[in-house]
Symmetry: C2
Subunit: 157 residues, 2 copies
DNA sequence: CATTTTAGTAAACTACATTTACCTTGAGAA
DNA sequence: TTCTCAAGGTAAATGTAGTTTACTAAAATG
């Protein structure tokens, strides 16, 4: 038991080799997700709920069509449409007819909607700054580059 | 617009610098999550639903107490208890009284429950194999090590 | 011009999580 | 000891959010 490391999150000891890529990605991803919601709620956007976040995910909903947002979020277009309706009521966006295709609609962020998106990016950049300080600039850049290579690859299709 | 890269997932072009750590972690984490559920369902565990997965997450439920599983999954103990009840009905685990503390209970995986967990690990290792092939062994190990440093750090608390 | 596919919408249904509430046990204070 | 309170577990009610089913209109296809 010499190569085991202490872990404050669980009662047991956990070895590096036991950590598979699933947990290694999921844990920080969820931590970031929770933090963004929490800070957004604290920053004057208290009427935003967790499912709303699916819409503001990179690269954001502005100019997109509902169907595209639905598949981006991995949900049905009906569910997405409800979310969009909710956000429209709350004044974060509006849906208007798309010029050209008369059956299609297009999502446009309002000023308040843009403010949310900008704030989310601010929070993310603050998080990146912290990671930078913890890992060191060189390793943090390396981490992002490696993740970007994954993102580009067929692995995540 | 010279440093922009094409992206098949979105209709727009996306630059590396625009990708923040949130999306870089979330996208592959979700892809892995979906794949595990899909392959588990196809591997004879069709009665497992998405929320059930919260229980089988690393390091697994065997020997743990419900309350610990609840905080690990970030949900209320009541919600966790329902999930456990559901999985117990399906024959994946059983809850028995913990020896010593008579108010506490302890979760034990059944043979079938252990089979699910083992299968999930197999799938993850298959995924790691693919990532290994795509990134190269050296870079893949580097990625895991960097993520493990994040996992150890106060960043994800 | 007829058929099929796609975008959008709405209602019914279902799943699942939180809230509220209660029981029991263990720990600590009085 | 005895009282009080915190913690683990459980259950029912409530609320939210998702899929399913169903429909309309427009574009694409033949």
């Amino acid at each position: 038991m010499t190569n085991l490391r202490k872990n404050s999150r669980h009662a047991t000891t956990v070895a590096t080799k036991d950590m598979l890529i699933g947990a290694l990605l999921r844990v920080p991803a969820e931590a970031i997700h929770r933090r963004i919601i929490r800070e957004l709620n604290a920053a004057g956007f208290g009427d935003l709920s967790l499912p709303h976040m699916a819409i503001f995910r990179f690269p954001g909903p502005d100019g997109a069509r509902p169907v595209v947002l639905a598949q981006r979020a991995g949900m049905s277009k009906q569910a997405m449409n409800r979310l969009l309706g909710s956000l429209e009521e709350l004044g974060y966006l509006k849906r208007s007819d798309a010029p050209g295709e008369s059956r299609a609609r297009i999502v446009r962020l309002t000023r308040r909607g843009h403010a949310v998106y900008a704030r989310a990016i601010d929070i993310l950049e603050e998080i990146e700054h912290e990671w930078n300080a913890e890992l060191g600039r060189e390793d943090f850049v390396r981490l992002k580059q490696l993740l970007f290579r994954v993102w580009e690859s067929p692995l995540v299709r």
